[in-house]
């Protein structure tokens, strides 16, 4: 049995080593952000300070870029859930003629790299005079997130038992009321999963707003942080690190939040038994 003990020890050592390699680059951001004289290399802060954060958060331009980022990402997630949820209903409930090819097209579109269509999208925006429009950018992002949204929401909706709806119909509820009052509340874990995923992807998206938005006062956080890096990146490490952390926070918090939802599971079982 000695051999197995050694193997076990070895795998603990390998895992610890990989974990250590993974944390190193990240540790720098955290320590540099609270260091008054942050350098490029990882060091224990010589002087603890929160100045980097106050400097970033007191800049109205930064705050504006965060608000714009929120507008785009929240707008996109709400639209994906609403429009995708509507589309998911007939796909989940009715035996439609073209359902199979439609769902296969949707699945196909979920995996296409958006990068490949950005040049023609830019031309389309020029042609329709939409360049520099935050609303149009949000709508484009919505369309790019819809295939995933429809696919996931349809699968979540399939798990909501039809019996609940039928009993609501008997009580005289319309399809519309049913969707809002019966189906949607039972799909909250699914809606949150799709919403959170869409928001995180959108919040971290740099390429799309970088191409479609031209005026600096309309840039979301992902673009302003890149500009900050270009202008001060090689001088003010502390501030760059603080900016990066503040910008990363929403993605981290939402990830943790989504984990809570996932672990709670999708237990509608009890609703039909009663």
């Amino acid at each position: 049995m000695n051999r197995f003990k050694l193997e076990k020890k070895l795998s603990y050592i390998v895992l610890t080593f990989i974990g250590f390699l993974f944390i190193l680059p990240l540790l720098w951001v955290i320590l540099a952000s609270i260091d008054a004289n942050a350098k490029q290399a990882l060091t224990i802060p010589s002087e603890f300070t929160l100045d980097n954060f106050t400097a970033i958060l007191s800049d109205p331009a930064t705050i504006r870029s965060f608000i714009i980022g929120l507008f785009i990402s929240l707008g996109q997630s709400i639209l994906v859930v609403a429009v995708g949820g509507l589309a998911a209903y007939p796909l989940s409930r009715y035996a439609l003629k073209y359902k199979k090819p439609f769902m296969l097209t949707i699945l196909f579109m979920t995996s296409l790299p958006i990068t490949a269509v950005m040049v023609p999208v830019y031309q389309l925006f020029m042609f329709l005079n939409l360049q520099d429009s935050l609303v149009a950018t949000t709508l484009f992002l919505t369309a790019s997130g819809l295939p995933y949204g429809i696919w996931m929401l349809k699968n979540f909706m399939d798990a909501v038992p039809l019996e609940l709806e039928e009993s609501a119909w008997v009580d005289g509820a319309s399809i519309w009321t049913c969707l809002r009052k019966v189906v949607a509340p039972l799909m909250i874990p699914g809606i949150c999963t799709v919403g959170i995923f869409t928001f995180s992807m959108s919040w971290g998206n740099f390429f799309v707003p970088y191409i479609l938005i031209q005026s600096p006062d309309k840039f979301p956080a992902s673009v302003t942080i890149y500009q900050f890096f270009g202008t001060y990146g090689m001088v003010e490490y502390g501030k760059l690190a603080a900016f990066s952390l503040v910008y990363t926070m929403p993605a981290v918090i939402l990830y943790l939040f989504s984990q809570k939802f996932m672990s709670q599971g999708f237990s509608f079982g009890g609703a039909t038994k009663g």
């Binding site: 795998s11 290399a41 023609p120 830019y122 031309q123 369309a143 740099f206």
Partner: protein
Amino acid sequence: MNTASRAITLRSIFFLLPSWILLLIFFIGPILLTFYFSFTDLALTGAQAQQMAFVGFDNFIEMFQDPNFRISVTKTILFLFISAIIGQQVLGFLLAYLMKEKNTTFRRIIGIVVIAGWVTPEIVVAFCWVAFLNDSGTLNAILQSFGLETITWLYTFPLISVCVANIWHGTAFSMLVFQASLDDVPKTIEEAAMIDGASKLQILIRIILPTVKGSIVTNMILVTLQTLGVFTLIYAMTGGGPGTSTQTLPIFMYNQAFVNYQLGYGTAISLVLLLIGVIASLFYIRSMKVQI
């Protein structure tokens, strides 16, 4: 058609209409435009900006004669192969495999550390790695403390540098996929093999790998598709340089379309990217064996 089924059809059309309109304008439209524009001489400035002309296969002829295009294809293949197919997949599998049956707290800590790199937005990943690999960055500080010479990583090994950053960012996805599929390997078979005296390696090759083959294929296609479109990470870390050493197809496309203002040519490059994506996506759908 009776009234009930007509009502259902009408209602379905009404429910599907908003997503159809959005997908047609902003998703399917641009894909069709890619085909159209790649046969024109459309430019951002100059005479072609006002009056674009149909130029047939000129863009594609130019592309196949352009040494830069060939370089970009090579760089893209190398980037895909090193960072996605080998790097993320093997490291992700190794992590998932080694974490099996380990102490829960230990598993959780390693999991969080790896997932942290995945949750971090791409642009911040780029900053982390630029700082880490810089002349006076953490890696060189470590080398110095061992008495070794410092290396200007981003100039000497630019492609390897962006690959490592992409592995750091993407491995968690493969790890999660493989953790889920390793849970499906029946424990009884593994135990029976162990009693018969099979070594860990034999169990891995003969029992575990064949069982998770399906998820390896699906994961490989998904990771390829994700890596194919990577722009932000490379653009922020090296800008495609030094020279053309990290100029993958998305960077090349961006440079042609928005730096050299040759939109028609840029679109022709994106068509190549799109076609690779289409082929990989078709394989993805086949590998999923979906029931609809």
